[in-house]
Amino acid sequence: MAEKFAVVGQSEIRVDGRALVGGQPVFVDDAATDAKTLHLALLWSPHAHARIRSIDTTAAADVPGVELILDHRNTPDKRYTTAGQGYPEPSPYDARMFDTKVRFVGDRVACVAADTVAVAQQAAELIEVEYEILDAVLTIDAAIAEGAPVIHDETDALDVWNQDRNVAAHMVGAAGDVAQGFAESDVVVEVTTETQYAQHAPLEPHAVYSYFDANGRLVIVSSTQVPFHVRRIVGRLLDLPVHSIRVIKPRIGGGFGVKQEVLIEDLAALVTVRTGRPAKLIYSREEEFISSRTRHPMRITTKLGAKADGTLHAIETTALSNTGAYGTHGLTVLSNVGSKTLPLYNKAPHVRFFGDAVYTNLPVGGAYRGYGATQSYFALETAVDRLAAELGIDAMEWRLRNHIREGETSPIFKALGEGREGVDQIITSCALEECIKRGAERIGWADKRGKRHRDGDWIHGVGMSIHMQGSGIPLVDMAAATLKMNDDGSFNLLVGATDLGTGSDTILGQIAAEVLGVPLDHIVVTSSDTDLTPFDTGAYASSTTYVSGMAVQLAAQDVMAQILEVAGAILNTPTDELTAEGGLITRADGETVTLSEVALRSLYAADQRQIAATRSFVPEVSPPPFMASFAEIAVDERTGQIRIVDYVVAVDCGTAINPNLAEGQVEGALVNGIGYALYEEIIFDDKGKPLTDDFARYKIPGVLDIPPIEVILVESYDPTGPMGAKSISEIGINGPIPTIANAVHDATGVWLTKTPFSAERVWRALREYQDRQPSVTPPVRP
């Protein structure tokens, strides 16, 4: 099926790789700042819920070197959302730059701009704030309880679902009649799962630097996934015309969704506007933990009904999402709980999703790799294992019988989009069956499943789960690419797309090189500068390879047509009799012309023009990548510790434009997911203050924590994507929780329903299980 490619499909070295390994000054904080630069420090709320009665900045302002102090009294009072989404944003406008009320420990109170970081921090500590402390809402249940304190009692918020009941967003999507579906089912299972607060923890924290250029335009250099949204949102917030702002994204040290947020750009920009001086703000790791964004914790119930022969007949997923103090991404993450999971089992005619995202006085949820699907697959894929067990069907066999396939559709695609109605789509590529079979073969499913064995105190089991995600947001995302030809037959590729370490500059260059028949080093990639590059909605929702990639492919095809036209003129031949390969345009008789000759003629000689094209792409569908995830785990029955013995995922990403980078996306997502499954957790004290505010307390996986991992790329070819490609950056993170939970059940008989699967939690679950079944000793093979 796959075409034969020259540059695509090769593990080309990243175009920015040498600068990165050499430690060149390519990150925001590396920019040489001039002596006039102001450094920003923030004063954070120490209370989870309080009204600011007064702020006294006199002492702080008196510290030598302090230039400006911002708080709610001297900053715009507009409501907005920090969510870096397309316009109009589907997140409620419930935030202010600085509000008269603080809604979580870590909410902004004031910002000091001073000559040095130390002075700014010292001055921030001298700001005196009088708070009226309000009752705090610290759990989902407390948020929805009758008479709960109202977190957003302001009168000027927009698009909040129900302010009085602390409901930020609400979503329903359905097909058929689930009540009837369950009534008609022979077997019904229901699972409720709970997932925890977690942080993205990119190694580079949020960072921004702003200044006026020589012409008085405001330049914002930001570690962001969404430069064009930064420009638009900061412009609206500060009443600056878009044409007066330039946003540059340099290299950035990871994002994973947390930088799909206009979190600190407004502060630096306003300081520069007010003072005329450059301004810089680099979050500390502690600030990254207490005051950036998190994964929405959720309680999800998934109910499955099947006929006696195993056919799935009804699915219902109900979600309660904790969006924290503000509703950023609250609605869209909630939507994806249903929309990125339910179509996977499209055989059920009766499907329903119902969910609420509720406010609490805890850190703010945001976009996080997986975006609701990660939380939802815990419930869905453990429910599938329980259903298969009830039916007496092997869990892999049941999945093979019920998963969606190429040429099929699901009513959910239309019923549930991102915060609104979705888009009908037929699956145009799906190698999930092969993914399942190859993964099962490699993990040894047939030999190991249902045959737990003991090694000392460790009991081994195997588990699996299957997944889909998407490739961009259909009819919402838009990407554009500009290609122009240079004298020597090389090209500048200008893309708004945002490489956050994923390698998108490289793979977009590969797509252009493929179409143009040149090696990758003939494509000079410039990305993410709102002055220089065309628009792109940004790096989120697994959009870049698919959406931006298509824009690049279209632009390259357009440029190729122009090249052939010029070559035809040189060779005196109609363009349809020419072929292009290896940097040469060739006539049927073997006569050739080089790309450089084409460029020189068009730039200098005859019929002069810049060979160039700008093309846009708006996806009409969002072809899902698919994944089968398998693990062998061992549980220490005396301590509850889980050890992953072996982890295999097989992923269908269509054509892998750059196999090394594609594998890297899956490996990274998988390890992030393992951390989330086993130990990553923001823990709060009883006043809502996070206790885990550094990497000593909030543990992310290190190299010694990773199991043997094998990623199998199962290529398919999606006819709607660039060179057959689909996106792959998120899906890997969805596997570990359900795969490990199902493996733990295989090993011990215990169903885990709450993450993270800490040793103590598993130990308690094992003890409860044994207490419930005192007479049953699990059969264990020695």
Binding site: R14, L20, A32, A201, R285, E667, V703
Partner: protein, 155 residues
């Protein structure tokens, strides 16, 4: 106060504040390869070689470098064991924020052990966090660098 140290092979005198960390000093001097990822000794992105051994620069006062030899990736020219190339070749570089420190730490190991096992490599990289890659390709890269060095020696 002035300290005298060997910085990337050059004997250098630096005026430092008594409370300044080695990380702050190096970044102030323009060594952008030394990253500030947590400033608590937990993430490893600020690792430099101190008398040949990799250590987090954030947990040391600059004054502690007095009389010692400090090497950053900028100074790791002939003794990088081909680690940078190997990292690029296998696709071990994603955002690249952790990579200079990861290379320095691996170089420290390879200077002392010519053929460590994969487990020994992992043990030595335990303090170098990476959030992008999942570490698989970084271990592959160190192994590739070792294999290439062996080829050169045996060839």
């Amino acid at each position: 106060m002035n300290i005298e140290l060997t910085l990337n092979r050059d004997l250098t005198t630096v005026d430092v504040a008594p409370g300044e960390t080695l990380l702050e000093m190096l970044r102030r001097l323009g060594f952008t390869s030394v990253k500030d990822g947590c400033a608590h000794g937990d993430c490893g992105t600020c690792a430099v070689l101190i008398d040949g051994r990799a250590a987090t620069a954030c947990l040391l006062f600059a004054a502690q470098a007095d009389g010692r030899e400090i090497t950053t990736i900028e100074g790791l020219v002939d003794d990088g064991f081909g680690l940078a190339e190997a990292m690029l070749d296998v696709g071990a570089v994603q955002c690249g924020f952790c990579i200079p420190a990861m290379i320095l730490t691996a170089a420290d190991l390879l200077r002392r052990e010519s053929a460590p096992t994969r487990a020994e490599i992992a043990t030595y990289l335990a303090g170098n966090l990476c959030r992008c890659t999942g570490y698989v390709k970084q271990l592959d890269a160190v192994e590739l660098a070792i294999a290439r060095a062996e080829e050169v020696t045996s060839g």
